[in-house]
Amino acid sequence: MSSAAVPESGTVELSAVDSSATASAAAEAVAAPSLLYSEVEDDLRASVRALLADRSPWNAVLARCETDQPYDTSVWKSLAADLGCAGLAIPEKAGGAGASWREAAVVAEEVGRAVTPVPFLTSSVIATAAVLALQESAQAAEIGDLLERLAAGRTAAVLAVPFSSAPDAAFSKALLSDAPFSNTVRADDAGRLSGAVTSVADARVADLFIVPATASAGPALFVVDADAAGVTLDAATSLDLTRPLADLTFTEATGRQLASDDAAVTALSRALSTGAAVLASEQLGIAEACLELSVSYLKTRYQFARPIGSYQALKHRAADLWASVAQARAVARYAAACVADDDPDAPVAVALAQAYCSGVAVRAAEECVQFHGGIGFTWEHPAHLYLKRAKSDSIALGTASRHRAALGRLVDLPAAT
């Protein structure tokens, strides 16, 4: 089939469905946040990409993953401290860069592209968002100190929840009356924590944990030093080699309370939803990397004396994948913009981003394996690093179907009763 010509019909209008919507469409066009990248973001991306290409190429990542120390702490230090990525969303007066989650999302794209084992998402996004939400709390001095250390990249903090926790995991006030804040960790009146949390991502490189727990007065957030007495960490064998999990056990471990009741609930919810928004950009980065790897292979791999990319059975799938990645970019940018601006549409944007970008990243990684054929199934090719990261990311912070269910509630499309 030739690609040279596109015939006419001349009468199709993509948008001419509901003319009554025209006025509100114009308003929407004005109100929509920018989904483009700013020059500052382009510069930031270039710096991060250069660093990771130089210091964390995929074969180095793979080699590290085969040791018991997948993290490269010197790369993390360069990313977090030297490039200032750890403090992007932290205000300048609190020691940060005074940028926003939009810029952090650009870093997440690059970390996804390079499948770099660094605690950027867990510490600089999820835990940082929790702490940022507590800036006005009574523990202002402790919070201020924590933010400064996070911003400087001196401290890595990890939220002690299973990595699969969804933002709507219902840490809502309404549910609290029936269910404990966390039924796995309890705090006694002296602030000592006991209980277990499974599948915590990046726990092994955390300097401290932010622990949701149930105290006698209700829900509370504690900070616990990773090396405190009574904290034990059992490394789990993770599907994603580049983001190791661990099971945490607290046995009368001493914690400092950061927040309680509504403030704790809000901070936890903010942490998970910001994490889910930025995770969509990591997924976008994974999908882009997989598409690029695939296209480059389709051009250079010959079978039957033709580049395999000249077969429509493959090129059409590559085209579809490209179209999906273009859509994922718009969706991920919208989510980042909404959490950055504290937009009222943020809950919809976040659920939408996870419902859409999860699937695109997984499909890109799966297609990358299939496009590569035999070599794609081997350990020595990077495709499996992306596949494992993409599949784990699709479960992280809530699966796509869980986010679809959340959307149903948010946009008034109720479930069957």
């Binding site: 010509a5 019909s9 001349g10 009468t11 509901d18 296209v295 085209a319 179209a323 679809r404």
Partner: protein, 399 residues
């Protein structure tokens, strides 16, 4: 004279309340306020395109008539830019004014039963009445198809083969065809929806004077690129609110009719909602790129996604409605005319209509398969299709 002064003068000299519609539109054209980015003397001011919005808003606020752009979309969107780019001064002066005012409706005679995706392989032939005489009339014979508005049109843009002895792209010439010629026969073409949005057009010895040739003999393919590029711009996604498309129709039914809901349908509905919203945000991002003067290739993704989504959503809607999905609103043949809206009314018809009409979305304006080829080759740089027709005279190709 500033743009504001020109608008003021036009309104003072031609009060919209008392000036007949056509007189006003002609005066607007002559004042250079029809399409300001067109040249002076041809309805424009050589001004930036975005200034047209200022004119349109001011004239609408003053109660002035518009030229009903939906009705004359093919003329405005495709014929006009092609005539401007490739026509002679005489052709521009003759055609552009009545095209813009809507006095003369245009249609497009491109696709043929044997040349759809492979448009350059078309077989309609044009031969000189007196071979060897450079200024002689052309006699055109062939069949065209998928021609919207042919039954209303005064003129058509036409591509025909003038030299079958050279490779297919090189033997084409572009003409303006008089639709009132006795050799033109227009028959409505009934579609799977029962209605007749477009026509088939039979050309039997149609006479076209050489003065109606657009561009040089043999340059028809290059001229057609202007038309086709402008068509793709016209098809590119416009601004839409959330749930503005067919998904809105289904969401409304879901909300209003709890008895239709099932658990499995709920997840499917939300999956489609997510895809529709992703497509909408992609179109928003595309518009933002265009506004910043950095057009991206996402436009070609937009039509691909739109076609697939419309088909999936409308198929889902019919399932969701159950027994109602067994029925159809109206099989009576309807024919589009200039008096009736000329856009597809997705929301105003039944679910069965939406299901059937959406099948055209992956065919019209470039099939989804051709779009995938274009994305793969021009965006991703994948190797082109093996071409067996490139250096072969058209007459020697397998037909």
């Amino acid at each position: 004279m500033s743009l504001q002064q020109r608008i003021k003068t036009l309104l003072e000299e031609h009060d919209p309340a008392s000036t007949p519609r056509l007189d006003f539109l002609r005066a607007q054209f002559d004042a250079g306020l029809a399409w300001v980015h067109f040249p002076v003397g041809l309805g424009g001011l050589d001004a930036p395109r975005e200034q047209q919005r200022i004119v349109d808003e001011a004239l609408a606020a003053a109660g002035a008539p518009d030229n009903d752009p939906h009705r004359i979309g093919i003329g405005l969107g495709m014929a006009a830019p092609t005539i401007l780019a490739h026509g002679t001064d005489e052709q521009r002066r003759r055609f552009l004014r009545p095209l813009w005012t809507g006095e003369e409706v245009w249609c497009q005679l491109f696709s043929e039963p044997g040349a759809g995706s492979d448009l350059a392989g078309l077989a309609t032939k044009a031969v000189r009445e007196n071979p060897g005489d450079e200024g002689s009339d052309w006699i055109v014979t062939g069949q065209k198809v998928w021609t919207s508005m042919a039954h209303e049109a005064r003129w058509a843009i036409l591509i025909a083969r003038t030299d079958p002895a050279v490779p297919k792209h090189k033997g084409l010439t572009y003409f303006v065809c008089d639709m009132t010629d006795p050799g033109v026969e227009v028959r409505p073409l009934r579609q799977i929806t029962g209605e007749a949005e477009f026509n088939e057009v039979f050309l039997t010895g149609v006479r076209i004077p050489d003065s109606l040739r657009l561009g040089p003999v043999g340059a028809g393919w290059a001229v057609a690129q202007t038309t086709l590029m402008n068509e793709r711009v016209a098809i590119g996604g416009g601004a839409q609110p959330r749930e503005g498309g067919v998904i809105g129709v289904v969401a409304k039914a879901w909300r209003e009719r709890p008895e239709l809901r099932t658990a499995a349908a709920h997840d499917t509905l939300l999956d489609l909602w997510v895809q529709a919203e992703a497509a909408r945000l992609t179109a928003t991002r595309l518009r933002q790129q265009l506004a910043e003067g950095q057009p991206g290739p996402e436009g070609s993704a937009a039509k691909l996604a739109f076609a697939r989504l419309n088909q999936e959503i409308s198929g889902f809607e019919a399932d969701l409605l159950g027994e109602e999905g067994l029925r159809y609103d109206d099989w009576t043949t309807e024919r589009w005319t200039t008096d009736r809206p000329t856009t597809v009314d997705f929301a105003g018809r039944g679910a069965g209509y939406r299901y059937l009409r959406a099948k055209g979305n992956s065919i019209e304006g470039g099939t989804s398969e051709i779009l995938r080829n274009i994305i793969a080759e021009r965006v991703l740089g994948l190797p082109p299709e093996i071409r067996v027709d490139k250096d072969v005279a058209w007459k020697d190709l397998a037909q």
